[in-house]
């Protein structure tokens, strides 16, 4: 295949991946919709007025789910896996078409981050089946992100500018992608935790709103644990990405740290995530406040990608946007 056909194939695969993820969203919705009709009420009555009003083990709801819901869940997972494979294909064909690592501009970077997020979600969902139920809340933002990336960040396949031709691209950008993708899932887990913990508090207070969808989510404790574990995993990777970036900057820009907007916001993100990890073990900050810090962290990451590349001018402006 010529480079042009490979590049065109890559673009086609991108659309297919978006399509598969959209179908997966539909399937996840169906899964939630067909989720136990009566189960919530029964469990809630059984739970009585005790403090943890809902079953503490995340696996519970998966065991009790009706066959129809489970079938939809499996379909959704299958579509997600397929979507991830196709999306990996987007990057692989781009890489083949250009003869370089396929993360040299914002389009490719964004696509890779989303792929990492989907893979992290899949790994979590396979290891802890109850986490599958946050699928729609992961894949929904994923589809939105993909559409945004395709519409606003698209850059046609091309060679790298001179400054990016360095082994540090593989080190710095790859780890930044991994860190970002992991934080993405972590942030969503925290958002879901915020939703779910409020629901649980209401249930415990007897104001039980009995939302079927929220009820199908993993327990607040499980969501909080997931958010924390992923952040613990992502934080050293992010730290490494920042350090690698500094080492690269020393040879590319003449100094390892110059408070360029991208550097500044990478530092801010680092501090926010450090604060999140601390907050979770600090009395008075456990639970919802620390979850908010994690959400702010994700906000900072997204801001750093979009605002700093598109609005401000800095040395990191390799976005491929004109």
């Amino acid at each position: 295949m010529t480079d042009e056909t490979l590049a065109a194939l890559s673009d086609t695969l991108f659309s297919i991946a978006v399509g598969l993820y959209s179908l997966a969203v539909v399937a996840y919705c169906a899964e939630l919709a067909f989720g136990g009709r009566t189960a919530p009420a029964r469990e809630l009555v059984a739970a009585g007025g005790g403090a943890p009003a809902l079953p503490a083990t995340p696996a519970t709801s998966a065991d009790e789910e009706p066959a129809r819901a489970r079938r939809w869940g499996m379909v959704a997972m299958g579509l997600t896996v397929l979507g991830a494979l196709v999306q990996a294909g987007v990057l692989i064909t781009r890489g083949m078409a250009t003869g370089r690592l396929p993360w040299g501009n914002m389009y490719e970077f964004g696509t890779a981050v989303v792929l990492v997020a989907v893979v992290v979600y899949l790994v979590l969902a396979v290891k802890t089946p109850a986490l599958r139920h946050i699928g729609v809340f992961v894949l929904g933002p994923v589809v939105l992100a993909m559409v945004g990336i395709g519409l606003f960040l698209y850059a046609s396949a091309g060679p790298l500018v001179a400054a990016l031709r360095s082994a540090w691209l593989a080190v710095h950008v790859t780890t930044a992608i991994l860190g970002f993708g992991i934080f993405f899932v972590s942030g969503i887990a925290s958002v879901m935790y915020l939703v779910r913990s409020r629901y649980e508090a209401k249930v415990a207070a007897g104001e039980a709103p009995l939302s079927r969808i929220v009820h199908r989510l993993p327990t607040a404790a499980a969501l909080d644990r997931t958010a924390h574990r992923t952040a613990v995993f992502g934080f050293p990777i992010w730290t490494f990405a920042v350090i690698a970036g500094a080492i690269w900057a020393e040879s590319a820009w003449g100094r390892f740290w110059g408070w360029d907007p991208k550097e500044t916001w990478a530092f801010i993100a680092w501090v926010v995530y450090a604060a999140y990890l601390h907050a979770r073990t600090t009395a008075g900050w456990r639970g919802r406040p620390s979850a908010w810090v994690n959400v702010v962290g994700l906000g900072v990451m997204v801001f750093n990608l979009l605002y700093v590349n598109m609005v401000s001018t800095g040395l990191h402006s390799y976005g491929g946007l004109k």
Binding site: A163, R165, W168, R229, F235, G254, R255, S312
Partner: protein, 496 residues
């Protein structure tokens, strides 16, 4: 610890205006533009150092406070940890069943033998074990995972070292930048640089007497005109000693003894010959034109002739340079960054250039105030290709005779750099230790069985770090139970 974290947070918040407002350290011209767009606001912002956030007193204050607070909490912590490494594990708590993981195991062995079994299992798992005769019976305390706390101490000490290295590098470091045309040379002194920045403790006398000559500059492009590489062939050496030849480029600076020399940009210097009416002439006069658009290398600049032979009036050319020019409707634009068809569009001015007015002048343009005052007048205008000339009314002939390439070069000196790298690696190592390792404490106590016959071993564990401790605890106690059963049986055999 909380204070340190709050200060760190404050440092992050303080950095925000530095990323949203133009900064002098990054782009003086953007700051100037901001001043002309928002004159009043800009004055207020400037008074608050918002255009120099990272060198502002308040940023330095937060930095310093963070530093002090880190020292205040990490040093005692490190000392305490140092002691703990040599201290025995703490005595078992009274109520083992209140620990997060706990289990009781019945056995026929006597208390001491039962604890022997527990100790063996723990030692196999590399716990440090202490046996005590407690108030509530013989007991055992075991501990492992000091590295987690070591990681914590390393992390925080490294953070401190990092801040020190950063500050030191700023105070004793400097950098200078200069545009060097092919064939020219510069030496590492502040007088020679176009721009320089230096820390408070830099002594110009101590600067390495390094000199660099730019022999050749080359830019290479892909078919779609993406810049593929910029390389500069240079000769370098200490002043007065032999020079060596090397090639530097993007991502590969020259590194010599703590100094680094970079190519940070490039451009073209159009070359002009001027022949005056009286026959005097200047040949090979050039000045760097600054690229205004890197994609096509369309550039702007000025060439000034303050000393025109036999005349009091001065002469200047200002205009646009296009490495590959295309003229449409009289307007010159560049369509390619490579010098395939170099062209200039210049305005010629005569009069007073204001060079000796005492005010600093932009070397890339003529002094607008002189134009406004009428002391400088436009006397000609031309689009020229290489070799073409234009003749002014007074008979002066201006020829565009060729081009030279220049490189923007930068010399940086940062003595804190390696120190910071080491500290950053230590931060990461400490972080990994702190996040991935766990500290486990296991306690056990043997007491007489309730029916007066057997012994009961209570075991409890306390883990700091990763979440899922239950499976590990179950595995440990299962092994202990199995060992207890084995021991009982093997002891019974001979007696029966």
């Amino acid at each position: 610890m909380r204070t340190a974290l709050i200060l760190l947070f404050l440092l992050a918040v303080a950095a925000i205006p530095g990323s949203l407002l133009p900064q002098r350290s990054l782009s003086q011209s953007q700051v100037t533009a901001y001043f002309s767009d928002h004159p009043d606001l800009a004055k207020v912002f400037d008074a608050l150092y918002l255009f120099d956030v990272f060198s502002s007193p308040w940023f330095a204050a937060i930095y310093l406070l963070l530093f002090i607070s880190l020292i205040g909490c990490v040093v005692p912590r490190a000392i305490e940890h140092g002691r703990a490494v040599f201290a025995a594990p703490p005595p078992a708590p009274r109520h083992l069943h209140r620990l997060p993981d706990n289990r009781t195991l019945p056995t026929d062995l006597d208390a001491a033998a039962a604890l022997d079994v527990v100790e063996e299992e723990l030692r196999v798992r590399r716990f440090r074990v202490v046996r005590r005769d407690g108030k509530h019976g013989p007991e055992l305390s075991a501990e492992k995972g000091f590295l987690k706390e070591t990681g914590n101490v390393v992390f925080h000490l490294a953070l401190l070292a990092l801040l020190l290295g950063l500050a030191g590098g700023k105070l004793w470091g400097y950098e200078g930048s200069i545009l060097v045309t092919e064939g020219e040379r510069f030496c590492n002194t502040f007088q020679q640089y176009d721009n320089h920045r230096e820390g408070a403790f830099v002594d110009p006398a101590d600067m390495t007497p390094l000199c660099v000559t730019l022999d050749d500059f080359q830019a290479q492009y892909e078919d779609n005109l993406t810049a593929a590489s910029f390389t500069a062939d240079i000769d370098y050496g200490l002043a007065g000693s032999a020079t060596r030849n090397t090639t530097i480029g993007v991502n590969s600076p020259l590194r010599v003894d703590g100094d680094r020399v970079y190519v940070t940009g490039h451009g073209f210097s159009p070359v002009f010959d001027v022949t005056f009416a009286n026959g005097d002439s200047f040949t090979d006069i050039s000045a760097p034109f600054l690229p205004t658009e890197t994609r096509t290398m369309s550039s702007e600049g000025a060439v000034k002739f303050p000393d025109v032979p036999g005349s009091d009036t001065q002469l200047a050319l200002q205009g646009l340079f296009a490495p590959t020019g295309s003229v449409t409707g009289g307007l010159l634009t560049s369509i390619d960054p490579r010098p395939l068809d170099p062209q200039v569009a210049v305005f010629v001015y005569e009069g007073y250039l204001g060079l000796d007015s005492g005010l600093p002048q932009n070397v890339y343009s003529i002094d607008q105030t002189q134009l406004e005052r009428g002391t400088l007048q436009q006397v000609g205008q031309a689009n020229l290709k290489v070799g073409e000339s234009t003749t002014l009314d007074d008979g002066t002939v201006i020829t565009f005779s060729g081009i030279k390439e220049f490189a923007a070069m930068q010399l940086s000196h940062d003595p804190g750099q390696l120190w910071v790298l080491g500290a950053a690696v230590a931060v990461l190592v400490g972080l990994l230790g702190m996040l991935l390792l766990r500290r486990e404490r296991v306690f056990a106590r043997a007491s007489g069985g309730t029916d007066g016959a057997g012994t009961v071993v209570g075991i409890g564990a306390l883990t700091r770090g990763s979440a899922d401790t239950a499976p590990r605890f179950t595995a440990l106690t299962d092994d202990v139970a199995a060992a207890l059963a084995r021991r009982t049986r093997s002891e019974e055999k001979p007696s029966s």
